[in-house]
């Protein structure tokens, strides 16, 4: 087995809140192979967006390691990290907030190139901007428009072009299609998959939408209150979900198909709480239909129950 491009080891990010420490990311271990997509799913407050930002060091981790091509980038000094940023980029959820409203499309796409000085010369930068616009399917006539003059889909294309401008290897996609209408969402998903094929990109695709994640990912990690509860191949997860939370999540997806209409409903009770000063044990225990007293004794780590299928549950 080759070395993964990105690997996290016991990665932790805690935030200080008035009520105590919020364990947003709490001991997450992930691997993402080169040219593959890891989907990260979970409900709001599970720490999936924080995880992406900690991996990119947009937030500083509280503990653990992020290995990029085998090296722990969390120990990098500022200059080395800035060099590193050419290789790893991010696409955001909100195509409104993630583009500087005072910059035109060409300025937004050229900004990373100017910052990192990967290309010199006005003409060369301009050519690169046009090349990026062609790549993401954004008509060249929009080059001088401002983000607020464009619709959500086009804005998201600008965000993708900006991320690709430095020719990165690895992109964290933080809910990139959640704010878009379904027909536009499909256009953007197709674009992202094409780009991955053409450029051999590696994605970490963060989303709350399981059907989108399944569509685009090779592997999926399910998160609950800051922890990864299950991780395996995409098809395996859907065919054979092991963790009770994964099972509940899959059961809750409304399927656009009448045959699913009268299937037995096993909806879990209760709501997601916030992981402030969490007690030891399984975070899902309070809502779990299969809970046992042992669940709340100590933290439960991921265990490989079958080749490539990891689950953090006492039942396995």
């Amino acid at each position: 087995m080759t070395r993964p491009l990105v690997e996290t080891r016991d990665l932790k990010k805690y935030f200080r809140t008035p009520r105590g420490w919020l364990h947003a990311v709490d001991g997450v271990n992930l691997t993402i192979s080169r040219g593959q997509t890891l989907g990260v799913v979970g409900e709001s407050g599970c720490g999936k967006s924080t995880l992406g930002r900690v991996i990119l060091r947009l937030l500083e981790a509280t503990g653990g390691e992020v290995l990029y091509d085998g090296e722990n980038i969390l120990t990098y000094k500022q200059d080395k990290m800035i060099e590193m940023r050419k290789k790893m980029q991010i696409i955001f959820q909100d195509p409104y907030a993630s583009l500087n409203p005072r910059m035109s499309v060409s300025e937004i796409i050229a900004e990373p190139i100017k910052v990192c000085k990967t290309i010199a010369g006005r003409k060369a930068i301009e050519d690169k901007v046009y090349e990026m616009m062609d790549t993401v399917g954004l008509a060249r006539r929009f080059v001088n428009t401002y983000p607020h003059e464009l619709d959500g889909g086009r804005r998201q294309r600008i965000g993708i072009a900006r991320a690709l401008a430095l020719d990165p290897e690895f992109i964290v996609c933080d809910e990139p299609v959640s704010a878009l209408d379904v027909s536009i969402q499909a256009q953007i998903l197709n674009l992202m998959m094409d780009l991955q094929e053409e450029r051999g990109l590696t994605y970490m695709f963060v989303s709350h939408d399981l059907s989108v994640v399944k569509h685009i990912s090779n592997d999926i990690a399910v998160m609950y209150l800051g922890q990864c509860v299950e991780r395996t191949q995409s098809d395996e997860l859907f065919d054979n979900p092991l963790h009770p939370y994964t099972q509940a999540l899959l059961a809750a997806i409304p399927v656009p198909d009448l045959s699913a209409r009268n299937r037995p409903q096993n909806i879990i009770r209760g709501e997601v709480t916030s992981p402030v000063n969490p007690k030891p044990g399984c975070r899902f225990a309070a809502r779990c239909p299969k809970v046992r007293p042992e669940c709340s004794v100590e933290d439960i780590g991921l265990k490989e129950v079958s080749p490539g299928h990891f689950v953090a549950c006492i039942l396995y």
Binding site: E43, S44, D151, G153, D181, V182, S183, I184, Q185, A186, Q187, L189, N190, M193, H208, L210, S211, V212, K214, H215, D235, F238, A248, L249, A251, A252, I253, P254, V255, P256, D257, L258, A260, R261, Q265, I267, I268, R269, E271, V272
Partner: protein, 328 residues
């Protein structure tokens, strides 16, 4: 008693601002029968919310207005009713659940007060005790402990707030419930809880529901009949079976919508989305509104608005399926 509860005919709604005139709803026909759930599906800007607000007569003052058509609710034409009549109708005969539970409740009133208010406004009970008793009963109905009625909205989670909103909407046991994206702001497991509760309550109270959503999955789990909206019109309308049956005749936009969502049961490498964007509602294209994006566009689509064609109650508004044209 007549079977039809709500009958919208040829509804046109416009928003007029300083800058532009927005054609939000353009000739919408829709009926909802007693006890039935009708889904209204479409993307942003299709005119779904405007339709519901028209039924409530709560279009924004000075800006939005109904320019043509009628809305008959239980024999009363809402477009002609006085404001005083409307106050009696709202909350009593028809009520509405809004999309965002976070902002739909008054932050400085307890949830108990907010539920009791609708009962007071419609003079449902004479004494304070009866009202309080009813509030407790409704809270239990939506799965909230009545002891929490003295708490304020910010003390509840999103899913619980939406339950409160539903409790307010159902307090007077309305004949019609307009639900505008009631679960869009909620997490998937909470969405499942809320949807199941709504289904059960609807059954229990025999309330009809117009469910507005962009999510075909929610529609499939909930609705008896489904209308697909595009640019202020219903382009396809039929029973859930007719709409979700893959090998039936469909409007190209419906086909596009289904092609845009990833299928959990099959492994497809590429999605087949609809090309292009929603048309600008201030400057709608002539002929069929969808022709600018339609893969089956014909010359006639650009000039002539398609007439609805029916096939056993299954309406499609498209030149391709217009039999009269085919026979020519």
């Amino acid at each position: 008693m007549e079977e039809r509860l709500l009958e919208i005919k040829d509804l046109h709604v416009e928003y007029v601002t300083d800058e532009a005139r927005v054609f939000a709803v353009n000739g919408l026909d829709l009926t909802v029968n007693r006890g039935e759930t009708v889904g209204l599906v479409g993307e942003t800007g299709a005119g779904k919310t405007t339709t519901a607000l028209s039924v409530m007569r709560l279009l924004p003052d000075l800006v939005g207005r109904i320019t043509r058509g009628s809305i008959i609710l239980d024999g009363i034409d809402i477009t002609r009713a006085t404001e005083a009549d409307m106050r009696l109708i709202r909350g009593e005969a028809v009520s509405m659940i809004f999309q965002d539970p976070m902002t739909s409740l008054n932050p400085v009133m307890t949830i108990g007060e907010q539920i009791a208010e609708v009962l007071h406004l419609h003079e449902k009970y004479d004494t304070k005790e009866e009202v309080e008793h009813r509030v407790d009963e409704i809270l239990r109905l939506v799965g909230l402990p009545p002891e929490r009625k003295g708490e304020y909205p910010h003390q509840f989670s999103g899913g619980m707030k939406q339950r409160v909103v539903i409790a307010i909407a159902l307090a007077c046991e309305p004949k019609l419930l307009l639900a505008d994206e009631p679960t869009t702001a909620l997490d998937v497991t909470i969405q499942a809880q809320v949807l199941q509760m709504v289904r059960e309550l609807k059954e229990k109270l025999n309330t009809a529901m117009l469910l507005i959503t962009h999510d075909l999955g929610v529609v499939a789990q909930t609705c008896d009949r489904v209308g697909i909206m595009y640019a202020g019109e219903i382009v396809e309308l039929g029973t859930a079976e007719q709409i979700f049956q893959k090998d039936e005749r469909h409007h190209p936009y419906t086909v596009g919508l289904f092609g845009s969502i990833p299928d959990l049961t099959r492994k497809t490498r590429r999605l087949s989305p609809i090309e292009g964007l929603m048309p600008d509602p201030t400057d709608l294209p002539p002929g069929c509104r969808f022709h600018t994006r339609c893969p089956h566009r014909m010359p006639v689509c650009e000039v002539e608005s398609p007439r609805p064609s029916y096939n056993g109650g299954h309406l499609i508004r498209c030149h391709i399926w217009d039999d009269r044209r085919c026979s020519q």
